[in-house]
Amino acid sequence: MSKGTDQNIQKTVKKLMLIVFAMFGFGFAMVPLYDVFCDITGLNGKTSNVAAQENQDGVDKSRLITVQFISHLSKGIPWKFEPMVKEIKVHPGEMKLVKFYAKNEAAHDIIGQAVPSVSPGRAAIYFQKIECFCFNQQPLKAQEDVEMALQFYVDTELPKEVSTITLSYTLFDITGRIES
């Protein structure tokens, strides 16, 4: 093999290795990209993790939106966790306060974390939470119970065709995660 070919081979190999590493990086870059994409579009039903400002746009009395609350326990968390109101009707822009009840039924302390999800997904970015227990971890001692508050309003910009929003919370046991 001539020296020229050898050099060309080395050059090509280097370029190709660059693609390989770039694509390996791209695989990981998809994680933040996915989050950003979903944040902007609200496609995966995730609501914002930061408290919203109070509503400035006034109340739209012409529409009435049904907001439903449901709760799930993730595998193996021995808590009782449910919304104290299952369903309310709100005007867009109107502020509401609802409460969720949680009780640690185990004989040991557990730290819980509620993760919200909104359906339909495109309503997620219009569901504004001013205060939410999902912003924080919720430690509960054995047999302790608590009422947790959620203060929210529905944005007046909510697309016309959406008349019902379902807010689902899944409660996870993150005790091990916090301790480690």
């Binding site: 060309n8 081979i9 390989v20 996915y34 993790n49 993730s74 046991d173």
Partner: protein, 529 residues
């Protein structure tokens, strides 16, 4: 193209320093030896994966649970899929690439022969790791070859680490193989061998190699995330820590869809080589074949979410991925049209490679059509995760990829061994395979349309009759593959002496050297008009 040099007739004895015994195979840097290793390895893996499939079909022969536990059944389907994809089909094509590409472009060997040795020899270790998990307390991976989170993370049976490291090694092997092919094609073509003069198999594998280096690193990334989620407390796919399990599917299928073209593009290349030879005509539409291959490769990157229509995508997403997927039918249609047009008014003869190629064209097209049906979002909601999907991908992977591998093997066996294959045995192999494969996979379409879900060890009574036929077809197809083993062994041991160009092929530098191909070929590059 033709060559006007009579090359290398001056004997190879003085530089033919082959080692003997096992060392020859362990230390070899010869592309033909490594190609042989790849081909044998993939055939062994085909038999191993096939044995797992036999167990699956045994359990599904009757409704109810007879032979295996549901959890073990899940291990069988998972490892069957992994072995067939990463152990049988992909290494077989890499074997062809190793054997044929240097000869087809008039190069003395692959550009990076030592890396070539390494990329083969790490493969057996990968599959030893994967298969060893069967013998452990926790059992083998049971979360499907697609290893969806949280099945492979939160609910893993403890085999995740074995799975992940096995896939890492397979990925490294594929990437090295792909780099080697690209470097060889870009730098070592004989003078005068321009890109648009390259044989189509070289072209298709060139494009496949680019797909490999683009998506195998993404697979490596996603299995790494699964590993850290399972064992190191990260939460890429765990909602409790802010992750999202649906994101797993996006990243996985961003790899997974180009992967299915990695397993079919080289098949297109092989069939495009064989059909012109036995139709005794030039390939119709050479350049359109090249462009069609490239367009399929490009489109494969923007259709991944058609595997995920039922995850609750917005309408726009569903439409986008549906239309992009249907668009792939256009370049694929160009290819099928070109193959048919090549045969049109050709002086066709029906040797075994041609029979397998014809079966490929017809049966792969059936698989393509069921793929089009699956691409339609509204109906996919019915077909999703049913046996219709199983029927579809087995038509494209077995009667598609595997049949093309057989076609290629029969086509080049005379060149590899120096002998013609046994006519009677090879005909038996073809006809037994053709009939049994359709008994095996065709009824699966109806099972799926009737609602039988995939990946289950038991089913409702109304599916019993079809499943019995499917299982009978499965056993017959499994046994038929042993005939191929007989053919190959007979062909290596002896048989009618093969000419340098036994098919009277008009194209292909490989036919200008003796049969069997000398250990070293084209040390002085051939001249190409």
């Amino acid at each position: 193209m033709t060559t006007d040099t009579i090359h290398d007739s001056h004997g190879h004895d003085h530089h033919d320093h082959k080692m003997t015994g096992i060392k020859r195979w362990l230390y070899t840097t010869n592309h033909k030896d490594i190609g042989t290793l790849y081909l044998w390895f993939s055939f062994i893996m085909l038999l191993v994966g096939g044995a797992l499939a036999m167990l699956i079909r045994l359990e599904l022969f009757q409704p109810g649970l007879q032979f295996v536990e549901p959890d073990f059944f899940n291990q069988l389907t998972t490892v069957h899929g992994l072995i067939m994809v990463f152990g049988a089909i992909m290494p077989a094509f890499t074997g062809f690439a190793n054997w044929m590409i240097p000869m087809m472009v008039g190069a003395p060997d692959m550009a990076l022969p030592r890396m070539n040795n390494w990329s083969f020899w790490i493969l057996p270790f990968a599959f030893a790791i994967l298969l060893s998990s069967f013998f452990m307390e926790s059992g083998a991976p049971n979360f499907g070859w697609t290893f969806y989170a949280p099945l492979s993370t939160t609910f893993s049976n403890g085999s995740t680490a074995f799975f992940v490291f096995a896939v890492h090694i397979m990925g490294v092997s594929s990437i090295m193989g792909a780099i080697n092919v690209i470097v060889t094609i870009m730098n070592m073509r004989a003078p005068g061998m321009t890109y648009m003069k390259m044989p189509l198999f070289v072209w298709t594998f060139f494009i496949t190699a680019y797909l490999l280096i683009a998506v195998m690193p993404v697979l490596a990334g996603v299995v790494t995330m699964v590993l850290t989620d399972t064992y190191f407390g990260t939460s890429f796919f765990d909602a409790a820590g802010g992750g999202d399990p649906v994101m797993f599917q996006h990243i996985f299928w961003f790899f997974g869809h180009p992967e299915v073209y990695i397993m079919i593009l080289p098949a297109f290349g092989i069939v495009s080589t064989i059909i012109p030879t036995f139709a005794r005509k030039k390939l119709f539409g050479y350049s359109s074949m090249v462009y069609a291959t490239a367009s399929i490769a490009f489109l494969s990157f923007i259709v991944w979410a058609h595997h995920m229509f039922t995850t609750g995508m917005p309408l726009f997403g569903e439409l986008f991925f549906m239309y992009c997927t249907m668009l792939i039918a256009v370049p694929t249609g160009v290819k099928v049209f070109n193959w048919v047009a090549t045969m049109w008014r050709g002086a066709m003869t029906f040797e075994i490679p041609m029979l397998f190629s014809l079966a490929f064209v017809i049966l792969f097209t059936i698989g393509g059509f069921s793929g089009l049906m699956l691409a339609l979002t509204p109906v996919d909601f019915q077909y999703h995760d049913t046996y219709f999907v199983v029927a579809h991908f087995h038509y494209v992977l077995v009667t598609g990829s595997l049949f093309s591998i057989y076609a290629g093997a029969y086509y080049w066996l005379p060149k590899w061994t120096g002998h013609m294959y046994n006519d009677k045995w090879s005909k038996a192999h073809f006809w037994c395979s053709l009939i049994s494969v359709n008994i095996l996979f065709f009824p699966m379409h109806f099972l799926g349309l009737a609602g039988m879900p995939r990946r289950i060890p038991d089913y409702a009574l109304q599916f019993a009759d079809f499943n019995k036929w499917v299982s009978i077809g499965g056993f017959a197809f499994g046994l038929s593959q042993l005939i191929f083993l007989v053919v190959v062994i007979k062909c290596i041991r002896g048989g009618k002496k093969a000419e340098a160009n036994p098919w009277e092929a008009t194209e292909g530098l490989e036919w200008t050297v003796a049969s069997p191909a000398p250990y070293h070929t084209f040390e002085t590059p051939p001249k190409i008009d």
